[in-house]
Amino acid sequence: MIYLKTVGQYLFIFFIILCINFALPRIAPGDPAIYLVGEDIQNMSDEERNNVLAEFKLDRPVLTQFKHYIAGIFNGDLGTSLIYGLPVWSVVLSRLPWTLLVMGVSLVITVLIGMVLGIVAAWKRGGNKDVGSLITVMFMGSLPPFWIAMLLITLFSATLEWFPSFGAYAISAEPGSFEFFVSVLDRLFLPVLTLTLVNAGRMFLTTRSSMIMAMEEDYVMMAHAKGLKEIAVVFKHAFRNALLPVYTYTVLEMGQLIAGAAIIETVFSYPGIGNTIYESVIARDYSLLQGCFLIISISILLANFIADLGYPLLDPRVRRSVTVG
């Protein structure tokens, strides 16, 4: 029952996203045809123009256009990319895995580092050492991601020449070979490092404050009264409960993490979705831009959905309860 409701909510949000994606070029000021067909349309004669519009079905009523748009999405037809001359769908799908790779790896590292340090900080809080580490963490979190990326490139690529700063793999390497694998790791290092530096701080602060709150709870005192050792109390009772807000936070921040990745990809010329968005903006390739936006929205939605389904495993309180609106 709960799952059904969740699915319903997600389908609703998905539908809204489709509508926004459809509406974006149409509500923009100026001639929507420019956004949908390309700038050339301005230089055409009226007849040519009408032909082109007809080809893109832009002369039909909005509702019909919407039907075609929805049908297109389910048939995998998102139009054609101007820059690549390929179907938007295939361009987007070829870029998605790279984004997922950078995102996934940095997310795992960020969560692990942020959580471990957060627990330790909450436990050993107070004193100058804690204030020092807090300032460090907040400073790291305040640095603009793209700027860190630029400095890392300056240091590791330009000066030390340890890591390449371009692309996702060596073009010379044969896909599937060991060499290829190493070249992927080589190029993954700096983007992941950047994202981790930027995002671990927020994770750290969230964990720290949830832990501090959990450690004030009455069940922590009960655990002590049972005779548990400090470390068992911290991990079995305080952390087990602090995990819930941390989990929720991570899910909510997923969008932000992807956003950070978009810029990082651009700086490292990493062939992911974020970089593709940038390319399509620069080249005024609006179909591609729409496609990228759609795929990112769907990815975030899916990630949220999976996380939502996982939450009851962590918190028994939502497992059997029925929400009464």
């Binding site: 029952m1 949000i13 809080r125």
Partner: protein, 844 residues
């Protein structure tokens, strides 16, 4: 402002640092045209010039001075950040107030919109929107605000929901406030401190987003900003030449500093910087040599125990030279008011005191061992094994995410080397012992009732056959009948485990019914201890005498005897055959429709100057009845007539006029008065609601009311904040607020139950004087049967929404008709000074 800072900031160093950095950045940007040495838009030097004395940071590819660019760049970045944050916070607050306060369908729709916005990948959305709307600072502010408001709206809404649930909001509604004035008078002021951190958070992100957009070249490239400086530096590959040092680093640092200043302020306002973490058991012990020696034959002996709390240079003695001895297989009751040091002693015995406290003297012998000599990191072998503890707040001591069986298993395995299966078996046996059906073993604490939770805690405490059990207020907050069950169980288990129990409570009548000995604490000292009968017969200390006298006995001569009003006057409040059913809304077909019959055919009358007691446990319909009588809800059936007006048919405007004559006093004096208001504003609220505007008149009425409740009436007091007052004073403020508008009828919902015993008498006297002076009719809601009998003229007993008994107090108590009333009367076991054998304790 000062009060705000004290209340909501945790670490001032962060706040000061953040404000200084932000201030400097704002000033340098605002005065950029005055400070900047050159016009950043003009070519003033050779392109790519290195730093020199004239051009501190050198020049860019266009020959523009980089330092001047930096100063001007701050204007754009900070402007966009602050304005985007301002608009986003404004929208978020409005949505939160609207959605959270009004609720219902509006709330559902707004929250769906928030869900959608939050599911959108915001940076790509900002980029896409920016492209479609066109570049420019206005666009940036618009799109950043557009995507940033949603998380704040959700966060603030949940705060609004919390605020809406508080008693002071209910109180304001009961006084007749409209929604709009409740929002502006209470919700918004209370929400403001939480709005500011949201503003800070958004500003922080907005500055980063702005710089990212400009860096990607998606801002307005003509206008200088820190991001666009970096954009040009990047496109001119400044970072591959030596130029990165003066071209790339400074703007990046500026962005970082701006964001960091907001982060500092936000962190400080977030209130979680946290004081130093003090683990349990981290107290200081500076024991003077030698206390007592190990006495034979006793289960535990506390000798000369003193505890001092150190805070901010003050040294507060929490326990002074306490001696307490516990025989084997006996229960000693420790009674005293809140703050008298009862819990401190428990924590000291268990070595669970936290750091600012110090044990300055004493010994605690448990058998052969002096517990205070055992290092705290070895104490865990004792705690939970020989020495068990039931902490205060039994309702929340269970871990919410671990099943109850696993929590008992944990208690067992901490001290016994058993396999999981054996420990599981043992846990089930313990469940049997505390009379919980085995099939509940896999439940979680939210799925079981308060009484069951208390049993589970008891099972955990007894898991390792302890010698001594210390129970700190273990039954507080439970219903009377459940209290009785738990106590019976405890006494039974005491026998079978041959357990020695220290039972700490504020509830003297409760502990008298089963404890063997009694110890009385007063102001950090243990003033008296001895066998229960002796102590009850001949209390020596003045405090004990007062304490024993302050509890009216159920069966003694009625203390407040008023001439019976009878049928001589017209009834003031008539409740005729009233029923009310709540239905859970049916969203999905197939889900069972749930109905709660809150009230079924309730009828009674209250006359002028009469006090009627309403008795019933939580969930019996007391609150619903009060709401109906205040006209806040409509009955499904029946009539409520107040002063010959039909309350249930009134429109909201007329109801507001009627509420001048009706007042509801809440149980909890801390919750029902909002701390952010001056005392003058608290008490004058009913006057303002009923349209009084003249300040001097208002002040005079407030002074009269304060005088009536025996509180100071000076301007100094009127301007004070309620948070500085004690519980008793706060409840007097509630009464002052109740009578300021001279109402005809007052509903008092357990007005004395949260107060210490010594204050209750005064409060009852106050109510009696109000009754006598203004001939106010009272409905007195309580669970204390003895008090109700003495204080009320007539009693009404509710059980599950049904009125099971109604009549004169003496008749109801002496000859209860309904079995439920009889059970309630039986559950009252009380100190009987003259005849200790007759009060039922021997049979327990």
């Amino acid at each position: 402002m000062k009060r705000f800072l004290q209340r909501y900031t945790s670490d001032k160093r962060f706040l000061i640092a953040g404000t200084i950095i932000l201030g400097l950045l704002l000033l340098s940007s605002a005065f950029a045209p005055l400070i900047a040495p050159f016009d950043p838009y003009a070519q003033t030097c050779t392109p790519f010039a290195r730093p020199s004395s004239a051009h501190w940071l050198g020049c860019n590819d266009m020959g523009q001075d980089l330092f001047s660019e930096l100063l001007y760049g701050g204007r754009t970045s900070l402007f966009v950040g602050l304005f985007a944050a301002f608009y986003a916070t404004l929208v978020a607050t409005a949505v939160a107030l609207f959605s959270g306060y009004i609720g219902g369908r509006v709330d559902t729709i707004l929250m769906r919109i928030v869900d959608v916005v939050m599911a959108l990948p915001f940076l790509p959305l900002v980029i896409v929107l920016g492209v479609f709307i066109g570049p420019g600072i206005g666009t940036q502010i618009f799109v950043i605000a557009l995507v940033m408001w949603a998380p704040s709206a959700r966060e603030l809404r949940s705060q609004v929901l919390k605020i809406r649930e508080t008693d002071y909001i209910d109180a304001s509604i009961c006084m007749g406030s409209s929604s709009v004035s409740v929002i502006f008078r209470h919700v918004l002021p209370e929400l403001m401190p939480l709005v500011i951190p949201q503003f800070i958070r958004i500003a922080q992100s907005a500055i980063l987003i702005e710089s990212s957009l400009s860096f990607l070249g998606l801002g307005n490239p003509i206008i200088k900003s820190w991001g666009s400086i970096l954009f040009f530096a990047n496109t001119r590959t400044a970072f591959l030449t030596g130029a990165w040092l003066y071209w790339v680093l400074p703007p990046g640092f500026c962005i970082a500093l701006a964001v960091l200043s907001f982060a500092f302020i936000g962190f400080s306002l977030g209130g979680k910087a946290g004081m130093e973490y003090k683990p349990y058991g981290s107290f200081i012990r500076k024991l003077r040599k030698k206390g007592g020696q190990h006495p034979k034959g006793k289960a535990m002996v506390v000798d000369n125990l003193s505890v001092v709390y150190h805070s901010q240079g003050k040294h507060l003695a929490a326990a002074k030279n306490v001696n307490l001895s516990l025989n084997r297989n006996e229960i000693i009751g420790v009674v005293g008011e809140s703050g008298c040091g009862k819990s401190t002693i428990a924590m000291a015995i268990l070595s669970l005191l936290k750091a600012p406290s110090e044990i300055t003297s004493g010994t605690v012998y448990l058998g052969e061992k002096d517990l205070l000599k055992i290092p705290s990191d070895e104490f865990y072998r004792l705690r939970g094994k020989r020495l068990a503890f039931i902490p205060q707040n039994a309702m929340s001591v269970l871990n919410p995410v671990v099943s109850i069986k696993n929590q008992i298993v944990e208690a067992i395995q901490t001290h016994q080397d058993l396999t999981s299966e054996r420990a599981g078996e043992r846990a089930l046996e313990l469940l049997d012992m505390v009379e919980i059906p085995r099939e509940r073993a896999d439940s979680y604490s939210h799925e079981i009732s308060g009484g069951m939770r208390q049993r589970i805690v008891l099972a955990m405490a007894l898991a390792n056959d302890p010698e001594v059990l210390i129970a700190d207020e273990p039954t507080t907050g439970l219903d009377v009948l459940i209290q009785k069950e738990i106590i019976n169980l405890l006494v039974k288990l005491k026998e079978s485990f041959s357990l020695s129990v220290v039972f700490i409570t504020h509830d003297l009548p409760l502990v008298v019914s089963f404890a063997d000995r009694l110890a009385v604490m007063y102001r950090s000292r243990l003033v008296e201890q001895g066998r229960m009968e002796n102590l009850l017969k001949a209390p020596r200390h003045a405090y004990t005498k007062g304490l024993l006298a302050s509890f009216p006995r159920l069966k003694e001569e009625k203390r407040w005897r008023r001439p019976l009003v009878g049928n001589k006057t017209d009834p003031l409040m008539q409740v005729i055959n009233v029923s009310k059913t709540y239905r859970a809304s049916r969203r999905f077909p197939g889900r069972q429709k749930r109905e709660v019959k809150a009230l079924r055919a309730v009828s009674f009358e209250i006359r002028k100057g009469e006090i009627v007691g309403l008795i019933g446990k939580s969930g019996s319909g007391k609150t619903t009845l009060a709401k109906l009588m205040m006209g806040l809800e409509q009955p499904d059936q029946g009539e409520i007539i107040f002063n010959s007006t039909h309350l249930h048919t009134l429109g909201s405007f007329k109801r507001q006029a009627i509420l001048r004559d009706l007042h509801l006093i809440f149980q909890d004096p801390y919750q029902s008065i909002r701390n952010g208001m001056r005392i003058l504003d608290v008490i004058s609220e009913p006057l303002k609601i009923s349209g009084m505007a003249h300040t001097a008149n208002i002040k005079n009425r407030v002074r009269e009311a304060l005088d009536e409740v025996n509180l100071p009436t000076g301007d100094d007091f009127l301007n004070r904040n309620p948070s500085e007052l004690s519980g008793g004073q706060r409840q007097r403020i509630s009464f002052a607020r109740a009578i300021v508008n001279k109402p005809k009828f007052i509903i008092a919902d357990e007005p004395t139950s949260m107060l210490d015993v010594s204050l209750r008498q005064g409060m009852l006297g106050l109510m009696e004087s109000i009754r006598a002076k203004y001939q106010v009719g009272f409905l007195f809601i309580t669970h204390d049967l003895a008090l109700a009998r003495h204080f009320c003229d007539r009693l009404l007993v509710l059980k599950d929404g049904v009125q099971v008994e109604e009549g004169e107090s003496d008749t109801v108590i002496n000859n209860p008709v309904h079995p439920y009333t009889r059970a309630l009367v039986d559950a009252v076991r009380e100190p009987d000074l003259l005849d200790p054998d007759k009060n039922g304790r021997k049979s327990a």
